[in-house]
């Protein structure tokens, strides 16, 4: 892991894979969503609304996955002082927030015809909304630390670690509390072919998740490159200004 601590080495790795991740992820996502919209069969109970599954579920997983990236990167920043860890955490925050919001919006669009309500204050929906607010707070904290110019991102890193408490709450909310939301229908059993989900939905969902995940990875790499470039530009301009002042 520390092999990538050098920004130059990281950039050598990131430059050739950023565009392919975005292109392959975009093509796969569009193909699966087109199939989901046009060719996927309607479901016996959910009817046509089951097609929202191919966006809603990957968005939920990536919303939680984004905060897991923030938590792991924050741990790496606090414990091992990995120089790219804080940058990775900041880069994952916006796409994580986006996918959390996308999960909430598509869930609401699914809930209205399925439950008769746009929103209910149950454990799953509320904990997902809390995750979105946590992202907003993290982005504000990290931006404030960056603007202060002291490079002190410890508070944001600690917040990233503490906020991870919400991830298992989201996952187990439908088990711990009564909920309109259905319990998890995909687990490790899906890998052994014992999923309660019909294969056409399961494979479509896994393909959509792969496509959105590649896009998520490409966006995180692009945002890491942006932050690194901004930091290098600022450092260079500051050095120039000091040189002029000394001269």
């Amino acid at each position: 892991m520390h092999g990538f601590a050098n920004p130059a080495r990281f950039l050598r790795l990131a430059r050739p894979i950023t565009a392919p991740l975005l292109l392959i992820g975009g093509a796969l996502t569009l193909a699966v969503l087109a199939w989901g919209l046009v060719s996927a069969p309607a479901e016996q109970l959910q009817g046509e609304t089951v097609r929202i599954l191919f966006i809603h579920v990957p968005a939920a997983w990536l919303g939680m996955g984004g905060w897991s990236v923030i938590a792991l990167a924050s741990l790496s920043e606090l414990v091992w002082r990995h120089p790219l860890a804080g940058i990775a955490a900041r880069a994952a925050a916006l796409p994580g927030a986006f996918f959390s919001l996308l999960c909430l919006v598509t869930g609401s669009l699914w809930g209205r015809p399925a439950w008769g309500a746009w929103w209910v204050w149950d454990g799953r929906l509320t904990s997902m909304l809390v995750l979105f607010f946590l992202y907003c707070a993290y982005i504000a904290l990290a931006d404030a630390a960056e603007r202060s110019g002291q490079g002190n991102t410890r508070i944001a890193a600690i917040f990233g670690l503490v906020g991870a408490v919400n991830i298992p709450i989201i996952h187990y909310s439908v088990i711990w509390w009564n909920s309109l939301h259905q319990p998890p229908s995909i687990g490790l059993s899906a890998l052994s072919g014992n999923s309660p989900m019909a294969p056409e939905f399961l494979y479509g969902l896994l393909a959509a998740t792969l496509g959105f995940s590649l896009l998520f990875g490409g966006v995180v790499l692009a945002r890491m490159r942006t932050i690194l470039a901004d930091q290098q530009t600022e450092a260079r301009l500051r050095r120039r200004a000091m040189d002029y002042a000394d001269a």
Partner: protein, 46 residues
């Protein structure tokens, strides 16, 4: 399942939000990266 609602309207809305939002996120991140790296190159020439 509530009858009387056009289910496909909700599906189209979800897909529009999902595809449009993801596209906006990707384009914003890509153009921001290109601009930042171009700024870095220009700062080298100063």
């Amino acid at each position: 399942m509530h009858e009387g609602l056009n289910q496909l309207a909700f599906v189209y809305a979800a897909y529009a939000v999902g595809v449009g939002g993801t596209l906006a996120l990707v384009i914003h991140s890509w153009t921001a990266m290109r601009r930042a790296e171009a700024r870095r190159e220009r700062s080298r020439e100063l």
